[in-house]
Amino acid sequence: MVRPTKAYIAGVYEHPTRKAIDKTIPQLHAELAAGALADAGLTKDDVDGFFCDGTGPGLGGISMAEYIGLDLKYTDCTETGGSSYIVHVGHAAQAIADGKCSVALISLAGRPRAEGLKTLGARTYGGPPEAGFEMPYGPAVVNTYAMAAMRHMHEFGTTSEQLAWIKVAASHHAQHNEHAVLRAVVTVEDVVNSPMIADPLHRLDCCVISDGGGALVMVSPEIAKSLGNRSVKVLGQGEAIKHLNAGQVDLTYTAGVTSGRIAFEEANLTPADMDYASIYDSFTITVLITLEDLGFCARGEGGKFVSDGNLISGIGKLPFNTDGGGLCNNHPSNRGSMTKVIEAVRQLRGEAHPAVQVPDCTLALAHGTGGQIGTRSGSATVILGRNDA
């Protein structure tokens, strides 16, 4: 049984900047709000719900709402790292269904590149309880993801060449995106011959670092109807977390196993129904493990699944990240799920670049991972449908 659609995504906006030297974070939030509202055909004064992550400067989104000038009935600043925005999509859909708000703005902004922030872990004192048992050992973002990759290779025979295919596919898409940080098409050889950063991940297994952000406008079914047919349906959403489980460690899967199952169940759909997938791609291994977690292939089969161009639009069975993804296009604020939703919406509207547009794209998935799959992370999955789906 298909449940009634709770809410629609009516507007999306990806900030064109990739290096915001001359903009503050609140300014970026306001520019994103203006862009997403214009795309939806709504104004600031229509917004009565606001969602941002825990990095929005100020107290729980209040300062951002004040800067933008929002008069709100509802706010939610759930923080699950890079997966936050797909969590927000689910929470906004429920808030709209419950009548708590009717036009929800979800915003992500950051400027790690302008601020020269390092992704190698900073010292944390008086911080989270695990810090004392981790920070002295030098965990960075890349080497914790690398440990997940190393274990996957050990258990399933996954190879660097298979991981490289994920970057190759992203680069095939990014060549058509004028805003992408990396537009050059690369080969498997280019990836495996790029410098080793943290074994077994090479430089080209890593995503870009960029500034900017993105925003979404979600609305009730009634408002969506009044705005024409560009809105896309939120058909199902799930979210879950995973951690080191008191020392019983298994890095071969993520909480995407749970978030995906919940989202597909709510939508009453399966992976085979998806015409397109946006998969968070902080590193190539993130995509490979996520595809297994979501059921696009069996556990351990991800390497085979991503090979030979299977993720390239027009060539493979599962076109993914047709904007070039975080691997080539944009990874604003080191958080990737916002741009994942935006490209999925473009695909369902038929507004992706013609070279990568999936013909008759009706059903799509977007998935985010937050934190680090080598330690603790949040996963969130949303299933979206075209207006007539």
Binding site: G126, P136, Y137, A246, V249
Partner: protein
């Protein structure tokens, strides 16, 4: 070639973990066990994450284990090996692998605990090939 070692940062120590770090100075690696449910856990807490009992106690680990997974961090001044080591007792902890060629580390390798001074004079458990 054996690896150069980097300077180890001090651990963040609080009232729940003082015993762990003081014991490390005496060359002992401790893990927590729960007298209520009998299960071990890592990292150590006062409250058992398996059953929420406060009846937890320290036990000394043998210091022997196997590498569950690892990575060599190359893009840094002094390359180092980060790893998850599964102790004989059954819990897995994040650590470093030292006293080895960084190119010779392998998943499944047996290792044993050794201790390194941190910059502020604390003692940090790391592992070397056994």
């Amino acid at each position: 070639m054996s690896q150069m070692e980097r300077t180890y940062l001090d651990p963040d120590i609080n009232m729940e973990t003082t015993v762990y770090w003081e014991s490390a100075k005496n060359g002992k690696l401790l893990v927590k066990t729960c007298k209520a449910c009998g299960k071990l856990h890592y990292y150590p807490r006062t409250i058992c994450p398996h059953c929420l009992s406060s009846d937890t106690d320290w036990v000394e680990a043998s210091g022997k284990g196997t590498i569950y997974t690892y990575s060599v961090m190359r893009r840094t001044e002094t390359p180092y090996v980060i790893a998850y080591v599964t102790l004989e007792e059954g819990v897995t902890m994040l650590s470093n692998i030292v006293e080895c060629d960084v190119d010779d580390v392998a998943v499944g390798q047996t290792v044993e605990v050794v201790f390194r001074d941190t910059e502020g004079g604390h003692s940090l458990p790391v592992f070397r090939p056994a």
